[in-house]
Symmetry: C2
Subunit: 765 residues, 2 copies
């Protein structure tokens, strides 16, 4: 194999300097001359008919330039899943915080004053505030027209109910499996509604042009997705919609779906060609951006005495709130992964996504897998304890490995799970009993698909001086993709890293990318960029070969020099092509293009059984182990040590890989120990960082060890696959299991707050 210069190295982020110096332009930083601001009148009811809207007083507020209601923008969008969302509520509101009227004004203050003077008359309707009451026989239907909405083939709504998707996974005979089990453990694990809590709230600016084009400057993870949504909603071709990406101050899935761009566009359509900016307050971010769906996972596992898993039945209720968004796909994705990364011959999963009159649930880092991992990993721990088997041992006995057949029917390849389990366990000295009375150790693992099929494309432009501009549309949002893409480009072209610049991401210029989600960018965009760089390299060597009257095969590129491997051993610096007369043969700078798609490898998932020979481009596998100390006086749980071992395929940038895992892990600690959105009658009661706690640097474990298990995925760039999400998924159950190990209590509802711990300790006696 060719020696690599830049792959597997701890390369410093390309975006570091810009960000630490304050030079980065985020969504809320963006300004244009003549900018107007918009604010929204939002629903105070979880479910109500809109009887009358009175904006008379609002119109007379000085500085107000326009008032927009649903009737002005009668468009539906729906995240490419189910098109059920209006730009602004039309005749009805379905959750507290739903925007009803938008006010455009010269400044925020005028817009807010006008919003405060709007009067809307409502006729309250019965609200559905719980996923189980939503399924009752006589529950009000939140979307009577559900079956009529355009939707993707990947979802299966259930007519006449509030169920907008029902995922089924069927393998073997689950009832027979339970009959043959020596032990059966059934439990229900719950996860509350939480929010992504990005540092940067949603912010977008939109502007219409005289010819009907519209541009949106926004901090989105998925500009092409937003472009398609807007074009489809407005009924205009995509070349009339431009999404220019600003820096993203935290995405985690909430900036994948269209949660603010449609509002900016709705306002811009009525703003007389002036740009309009919309920035969510923190409260709006909590109540009307996007949340992680609350979920109930009922899980029943049957095993033999030796720990071999025989059967598993999982029933999941996801509460997607008033509009579906990506909820149905979360239900699908996590449903498929809900039995965990094990060989289980008999499986039945029902994963239901349900409408309620609550804030919108959708994509959140891990796409449902952290929630189901919380269930299956705690449940498996219970099985192990019941059987008196070591929790590591039971996992190693059942874990998927090369050649295993998964619950989806796929033959496993490139599976580094067992190695990950061993490394994570070693990382906290698994076999050494914790010292101190209330200390314990826990381990958990996970697996997750990446979205498939999808595609990516890239353009590599060589400048006249041999420096390079890469046009691609994976969005840097802290995960380090810009640096990885630059490394791949420089490695493939054989040029120094500092010669490579990634352009801004902008649908007007940069080529198609499905989205920056699903831990997919390094694998997919990386492959597209590799292809584009290889294409540029080929043209470059052809040019030199033509001038030197030799063959491209006789040449190589080493650190910016084209060299002749044998013969005359001539060489030329790429920056000297003009002066060296190389360009005189064909005087144009080189444009390389590349694309990558997983369409050809994808085997469609059977809608009745969830079976597929190849459901995903790659599976991510990870194991994490925690050592905790429980304060039995206060109930407070402290994570003392954490070890994470991830099958990353190949770590292209060891520094950013480590940061990704650590970041996910700390985020996971927040979801495990603190975070929960509290609702009263559909209204969020803690929409601020005083009442809703996220982890700070003070909460980071004293010791975090990360291990890369490099399995070299055969289709990944240099063997790489993704790793953005797994770190979150294995965190909660590792902590939960460690608490059980420490003090013998099992908390089943996240977050594991001190009061729950104290209560459980008391019950334990």
């Amino acid at each position: 194999m060719k020696e690599l210069r830049l792959i597997g190295e701890p390369v410093i982020r390309k975006d570091a300097l810009e960000k630490v110096t304050g030079g980065a332009i985020y969504g809320a930083d963006f300004k244009l001359p003549g900018l107007l601001w918009a604010r929204f009148y939002r629903s105070p009811y979880p479910h109500a008919k809109i009887v009358k809207i009175d904006t008379t007083r609002a119109k007379s507020v000085p500085g107000v330039r326009g008032i927009v209601t649903g009737a002005d923008v009668p468009y539906l969008h729906g995240s490419a899943v189910i098109r059920d969302q209006p730009f602004l509520a039309m005749d009805r509101v379905r959750y507290v915080g739903e925007p009803i009227v938008g006010v455009i004004a010269e400044d925020v203050e005028a817009a807010e004053e006008a919003v405060d003077s709007i009067h809307v008359e409502f006729e309250p309707l019965v609200a559905v505030l719980d996923v189980f009451s939503a399924l009752e026989f006589d529950a009000p239907l939140i979307h009577e027209a559900m079956m009529e909405y355009p939707r993707t083939a990947a979802v299966t709504p259930v007519e006449g109910t509030n169920i907008c998707n029902h995922l089924k996974l069927r393998k073997g005979d689950v009832e027979k499996g339970f009959r043959h089990s020596d032990v059966i453990i059934e439990d229900t694990y719950c996860v509350p509604m939480i929010q992504h809590a990005p540092i940067e709230t949603h912010a977008a600016t939109a502007k219409c042009e005289p010819n009907g084009s519209v541009t949106v400057w926004t901090s989105t993870q998925s500009p092409f997705y937003i472009r398609a949504e807007i074009a489809r909603a407005l009924g205009i071709p995509m070349n009339r919609v431009r999404i220019a990406c600003m820096r993203v101050g935290g995405g985690f899935g909430c900036k994948h779906e269209m949660r603010i761009e449609h509002l900016a566009v709705a306002m811009a359509l009525k703003a007389n060609l002036r740009p309009v900016k919309v920035v969510m307050t923190r409260e709006e971010e909590f109540v009307s951006a996007l949340v992680r769906m609350p979920v109930h996972v009922k899980i029943k596992t049957g095993a033999k005495e030796d720990g071999t898993l025989v059967a598993q039945k999982v029933t999941i209720h996801w509460d997607t709130g008033a509009y579906s968004g990506w909820g149905p796909l979360v239900a699908r994705n996590a449903g498929c992964a809900s039995p965990g990364p094990y060989v289980i011959p008999n499986v039945e999963v029902n994963s239901l996504c349900v409408y309620t009159n609550k804030p919108l649930g959708g994509a959140f880092r891990g796409l449902g897998v952290p929630e189901v991992a919380w269930a299956h990993e705690c449940n498996l721990d219970s099985v192990a304890h019941q059987l008196g088997i070591d929790p590591l041992e039971i996992r190693l006995r059942n874990a998927l490995e090369e050649g295993s057949i998964s619950v989806m029917g796929e033959r496993v390849f490139n599976g580094g799970l067992k190695e990950s389990l061993r490394r994570a366990a070693e990382g906290i000295n698994w076999n050494v009993r914790s010292e101190g009375k209330a200390r314990g150790k826990g381990i958990a693992c996970m697996y997750k698909m990446t979205g498939t099929p999808t595609s990516s494309s890239a353009i590599v432009r060589l400048n006249e001086d041999g420096s390079v501009q890469v046009l691609q549309s994976a969005v840097e949002m802290g995960q380090g993709v810009e640096t990885v893409i630059a490394q791949i480009t420089a490695e493939e072209l054989g040029i120094p890293l500092e010669r490579v610049t990634l352009t801004h991401v902008d649908t007007e210029f940069t080529p198609y990318e499905r989205s920056t989600t699903s831990s997919r960018a390094t694998f997919h965009t990386g492959n597209a960029v590799m292809a584009a760089a290889a294409d540029a390299r080929k043209q470059l060597l052809q040019l030199v070969a033509q001038t030197w009257e030799t063959e491209p095969d006789e040449l190589d590129i080493i650190n910016g020099w084209v060299v002749e491997k044998e013969g005359q051993r001539r060489c030329v610096e790429i920056g000297e092509f003009w002066t060296a007369g190389i360009y005189s043969k064909s005087q144009f700078p080189i444009v390389g293009r590349g694309a990558f798609s997983t369409v050809d490898i994808f085997d469609p998932i059977d809608p009745e059984t969830g079976q597929s020979k190849r459901p995903t481009a790659f599976w991510m596998y990870a194991a994490q182990a925690a050592e905790v100390e429980v304060d039995t006086e206060t109930g407070r749980v402290t994570v003392v040590k954490f070890a994470a071992a991830h099958d990353v395929g190949r770590a292209i940038n060891t520094m950013t890989c480590e940061q990704q895992i650590e970041g996910a892990l700390v985020m996971g600690m927040g979801t495990t120990l603190f975070e929960e959105l509290l609702l009263e009658n559909g209204r969020v009661t803690n929409p601020n960082f005083v009442d809703y706690k996220i982890p700070t640097s003070m909460d980071v474990p004293g010791e975090i060890k990360t291990f890369f298990v490099e399995t070299f995925h055969p289709e990944g760039p240099y063997g790489a696959k993704g790793l953005g999400e797994p770190g979150l998924a294995a965190t909660a159950p590792a902590i939960g299991n460690a608490i059980y190990n420490a003090v013998g209590i099992r908390i089943k509802d996240l977050p594991i707050t001190p009061d729950k711990v104290l209560k459980a300790l008391k019950e334990r006696g």
Copy 2:
């Protein structure tokens, strides 16, 4: 030949709506948050040493954020010709208006106040204010280091003089030719200093980034040229320099060279990462942007009795002012074309470009050809009159045609000159004597090369819905190139025109383009876009063929539908690729790329003789005829009728072609009848539109007829070549010759003002 849908049609401009509604963003419209403004202290002397700069008072003006002098930005640039220009004057100033100190401030007023309080002590030097005194034996050298400046091989400075380029054209034996001539006419024709007078003055905004990158938002004709200049001057790679093009409110050559971007960059380098904007006042535009060089053309022509041309000697003195800019290339280009488009066996041309202490001369629509055409066409008219031959007849007798050998030694192909002469003459009823006593008719013709070798590139991106984004870098500045590029793209791809959008031009995103100058865009960029569209089309047909299990050859694209020509006659709308499952084979939108270069066809011009078998990608040929009326009381000349016949190769957009010709013609009338920059001791005394007149709609001739002579250039897209410049070149001599025909006077110095006419009438008696 395939039937064309969109080529040769009067398609309405793509940029029309944006411009008439005020939506277009020009250089001066561009704003960024935190914008600072810069103004400059400029030299009051044409030539002086800078002894001391005192900015003490300036620094204390409230709002001032920085003071920049030449010592702060010790960089040289030079339009890729001769690198002789400092960003700001260092130890010496060379013309009145040269920037010496820049002030950065929160607003223009503060910057101006600070500039007014700067005190600079000078030691005046002897100024060279005339091209002939610059050549005197003891003339001061304006650039002692001339021979040490880096320069292009295309120019030949003369050591120890102020001559920065000497172009030689030699063919046959000119002295022998004169000996064999029956008639010899020698005259000197002069053209004054004029200005491009764009509606939009030069405006640029620059901003530095923490990593040393710099972005310039500017209305330039030649973004890649500016990028290369800045990167080279600052010594940074090109991927660190971004030139984002704003709309251009008139270019005509003055926005090809770097005349403001370096000032904006110089200020931005000292602005603490804040953006700095520089907008020239109208006075600055006149004195320090760029001018058309004043020139003296001495021309001596020998002919046989029957009008056959035998010999011609031309000596041209170009006054390029204090810095060379594109002056040397003007001298070269126009020198080559100075004998006119005729077969002349014996030729000697000396074209000298000379430094003086005057405003900078450089590129101006036609690159010197209008100036030399003024000379050779009036001179030829004199030969005809002397011999008693009709002026049309003498041109037809000597004009280049298919197979002729030109004065440069090239065998002519694709030459529509004779047809153009006939059509122009017919257009004003040449053979019918003008009615009215002081009316007369004149005819003139011209030819001009396009810059060669150069190259262009383009990317055609197909969106998911079949609409298209074209990435290319030809700049729309009123000439209609955006519309032509869209037509070519839509034609090649077989899709409706409204599905095609051109992106903004921006070196960060759009691929390499040499420049939008030299009437080159339709031919060069057009070819690159054709190739990119053909590449996209090929991929598109392959995709469909793969899905339908047929061959690409069996398919065609008609108005947005891919159709099977024979067999099952299946069809699919391009926008329906996703739903029709076409993309399921290889699910990525298509990227086509194309490039075009004239390197391979170019035969380098011999520096001693100017001979070349192929000096240019194409020659433009045009003939224009005017009928004028001279008011013998006032001396005022009125152009009654004008006919223009242009060999355009092929008119891709008949409407914009007509507009281009009419625009050039009216601009030419201004240069013929009104325009002249007046200088006193090196200082321009009429730098405003009150004292410097350009034509208005009131000056447009009552009748303008345009004819396209379509010769179908074999290498042009659909046969097209350029036509941006010729309309200017044949205007002045057509009018001058018509005046002679009307009242028997020959004015040799432009502009033909009433006082010159009256004086000549008086002398005629």
